[in-house]
């Protein structure tokens, strides 16, 4: 029964429909009803996002994880000339759809109290963003993918710029122009592939399934195309040295914006590597993998050191995100089972953990309106429940066994060790550094004496906050002790990815 419904289109476009409905209300509604609309907008958005979450859960349960191919396929004529509306999920993307649908309601819940102005526009922007992010993960057509991938810039630009902090204009420009420059190079590569498919396959197409299975791009060109895709994904990821937009964007984004940024947008890059770079350009991926490894290790060590020197809590977590994304790229480009599985696991678990950490910062930011580490201290005596949650997420961020952070990091390191032990060594060194900055943050904020007088009256977490943090904590631990929940779903698709990759290498070797 589920097979007949275009369930992926529902999941993708329900939030957009909700956003249009909200804007229609705002447009047609009377001026004095505006206040009521502002009040009810978050509730409506919450209902919509929960509906999407339920649909995603239903879809995931119905997903057959023993099959490697794409499921819930939809194929509708669109622009013509081989460019069609094609969506579908496999074991890799289904979990990212679920992660997006899972984090969005929490972001909306958290925004209800923390966003102080223009609630209605905020909710509209957020719902549009949800549509676009899910769209990226489900699209199986290069042009359609690019459409969603690029469109994400519009709501993010507005969210950072309107609801951000002091330096928001600078941050939003940097975010927009950096990512746009990366993306147009990718667009150029996509167009090249489109024409090349016509030459080689006889019919031009941007269908990912056909391209992965049949298109053989010559080795020399692969490198250029790979670099063009890389320029886009590396900026989105972000990898060192093009990571500098991230701390700025994070610091100035509102809490929920940060959660979405760290939880989902950063995964677009890693997902892109898995979905496009490796299957389409296997030879170039193998040849350039050493560069990725060293860039990842530099990212892990360098950004960990930078994170230690930050005075701003959000900046510290932002830099730690860059370090964790280093583990992801390192894992993906090992091309073995542990590495890639670890990379995917790390992305999903980082989505939960970094999201939770940004919520934690948001909780005290809403009370004190400062993110300076120095203005806090001794919170453990004032906010015991909060201190416990913060401890759990800090430990998960460091990669303590028993939390989901550990699984991802150990898997990627095991994968990397098989390729190059030195890389694994560098990454392990980075883990020690991550303990340094994370524990430093925790000690400065939570322990010690209460020196700041303003902290005297601070209240512990509210019920809503406890619910958000509790749920995220539950999943952090659940995935930490039972990682098969994720690895079982992805296994078949990853195996196929690696098998295809190896076949391509052998074919290239023979020629």
């Amino acid at each position: 029964m589920l097979e007949d419904l275009p369930i992926l289109s529902f999941i993708t476009f329900i939030p957009l429909g909700g956003a249009l409905l909200l804007s229609l209300f705002a447009w047609l509604g009377k001026a004095d009803g505006r206040e009521q609309l502002e009040r009810n907008a978050p509730r409506a958005a919450l209902v919509i996002s929960i509906a999407v979450l339920i649909l995603s859960i239903v879809m995931t349960l119905d997903f057959d994880s023993s099959k490697a191919g794409f499921q819930f396929m939809e194929d509708t004529p669109w622009l013509g000339g081989g460019i069609e509306y094609r969506v579908g999920v496999d074991g890799i993307s289904v979990l990212f759809v679920l992660l997006t649908a899972f984090l969005t309601p929490f972001c909306i819940l958290a925004s209800m109290t923390s966003v102080k102005k223009r609630m209605l526009e905020y909710m509209i922007a957020f719902l549009i963003l949800e549509t676009l992010m899910i769209g990226v993960f489900v699209s199986l057509d290069l042009i359609l993918f690019y459409l969603f991938f690029e469109a994400v810039l519009i709501p993010m630009f507005i969210i950072i710029g309107v609801w951000g902090g002091k330096n928001r204009v600078y941050a939003s420009y940097k975010f927009f122009l950096y990512t746009l420059l990366g993306s147009v190079l990718m667009l150029a590569a996509i167009l090249w592939i489109y024409f090349y498919s016509g030459e080689q396959l006889g019919e031009r197409t941007t269908d990912m399934r056909v391209l992965i299975e049949e298109l053989k791009i010559p080795g020399g060109v692969q490198t250029w195309l790979w670099l063009a895709f890389f320029s886009s994904f590396a900026v989105k990821m972000p990898m060192w040295p093009v990571h500098t937009w991230l701390p700025d964007a994070h610091v100035e984004a509102p809490t929920a914006g940060s959660v979405i940024l760290a939880g989902i947008l950063l995964k677009l890059g890693g997902y892109g590597f898995l979905r496009f770079s490796i299957p389409l350009f296997p030879e170039a991926s193998l040849n350039l993998a050493p560069i990725i490894f060293w860039m990842s290790v530099i990212a892990i060590i360098y950004t960990s050191l930078v994170a230690y020197r930050q005075n701003d809590m959000k900046k510290l977590i932002a830099y730690s995100s860059v370090a964790h994304m280093g583990f992801v790229t390192m894992g993906i480009f090992t091309f073995n089972m542990q590495g890639i599985q670890g990379g995917i696991f790390q992305m999903l678990s980082h989505g939960v953990i970094s999201g939770a950490l940004f919520f934690c910062v948001g909780v005290i930011y809403d009370r004190m309106h400062t993110r300076e580490i120095a203005s806090y201290g001794g919170l453990v005596s004032k906010m015991p429940v909060y201190a416990a949650f913060f401890l759990l997420f800090t430990m998960a961020n460091v990669g303590l066994p028993g939390t989901s952070g550990f699984v991802g990091e150990i898997l990627t390191m095991v994968g990397a060790y098989q390729v190059n032990p030195w890389i694994a060594f560098g990454a392990a060194f980075g883990m020690i550094l991550s303990a340094v900055y994370a524990l430093h943050l925790y000690r400065e904020v939570i322990f010690g004496e209460v020196v700041n007088e303003k902290l005297e009256g601070i209240l512990d977490v509210t019920k809503t906050e406890a619910f958000i943090l509790g749920t995220l904590a539950f999943f952090t631990i659940l995935l930490g002790i039972y990682p098969s929940l994720i690895t079982d779903v992805t296994a078949a698709s990853v195996e196929k990815l690696i098998a295809d990759f190896n076949t391509a290498q052998i074919a290239a070797g023979v020629q």
Partner: protein
Amino acid sequence: MFQTVSTFLPELFLAVTASLLLGFGLSKSQDRSVIVRYISAGILVVFGLMGYALDRPDGTAFSGLLYNNDFSDFLKAIIGLSAAAALLLSKHYFQSEKLDRYEFSVLTLYAVLGMSIMVSANNLLSMYIGIEMQSLALYIMAAFNRDSLRASEAGLKYFVLGALSSGLLLYGASMVYGFTGSLDFVTIRASIELSGPTTGVIAGMVFLLCGLAFKISAAPFHMWTPDVYEGSPTPVTGFFAAAPKLAAMAIIARLIVVPFGDILGQWQQVIIVLAILSMVVGALGAIVQTNIKRLMAYSSIANMGYALVPLAAGTVAGVQGMLIFMAIYIITVIGVFATILQMRLRNGMVEQISDLSGLSKTNPGMAISFTILMFSLIGIPPLLGFFGKLYAFLPAFEAGLWWLALIALVASVIGAFYYLRLVKVMWFDEPTREFVQAPHLVRVITIISVLLTFPLLIIPGISGAVIGLAETAAQALFVQ
């Protein structure tokens, strides 16, 4: 004879009705500008749809001076409709500036008549007649606010430089005539095929292209654009930015495909240089502008550069890409000027970018529509501007000019900066002032433009139909 009438029917209709309206406006002392404007807009819509409604076979008129085919029908439809939109936009502006005269509408009709002759010209002579007819009407429209120093300056500047470009055109035409012995497009082609591209023909062709580059304001012939855009009355600027650009672009396409179709190697470099310079000058020049009309002038220079990119390919897909790009650009730019016309304070129009500050708080509807238009101009999917650029850059890739497309893509990233500045001013800055309620008509046109920008090409079915229309038009040019 019958064929001449059938081919020339839309132009004939336009010429007769325009002259009748001129007489009608003149005959009574009372002011008839409002009724003349509505009738003219109706005439333009009818004229625009006439080509498709009549569904005539391709044909020549006046012994081959004009040649009408799907290509000209497509262009006439867009020119007619966009001119009608620009004319309707001007109503409120001229009324409140106390400038409303019926001559304006009639001049628009004559300008469109000139453009119409341009897009079906099949002879260097009829091309020149069309261009001059259009330009003379446009010079007067630029200086329509004759008591304003800036408007008179704009008109004069436009006239002097326009005359210069006409000189270039005529010089080029006479050289081509001298070396091929004909003014007729098809005969020129046959002659070039026979004797090869002699130096004289190539020099003449370069002069022709330079003269036309003035008309589309491609760099390095763009100098007049910012001043004329700034000085002319805003609705006139909106009109300048749309239809005349398309008509001139169309005649460039016709020239390089029909008479010079066999010497691609000769004109391609000219088009490429024009395209690159326009994109760079447009992108960099706009960054420092504070006046929104000057900014749109540089934006139009950059966009003409993008439109030349597919033409450089010289293929059917290239012409199709140019047509799609220009149609989309015109839809967007009419929306932009409709929005600029809404920037009215109690004591008059304003046109500084800073005047838009905090618009999203004082007038959210206008801010959202302007934001969508700006993102469309940047070329962010899923907005229409992205598809314009997609179809513009695809043919360049196909023809192996991928580096040109790459330059265009990078230029559009630089261009993103100044469009973003408008978005930033509207959304991130605090409001300083509030615009008065815009007239109904202007808002309706803005909304239509935004709605077209938003979902048109995304809906399956519609997208295929529109692309198919442009493809038929482009193919028609190549069969000739």
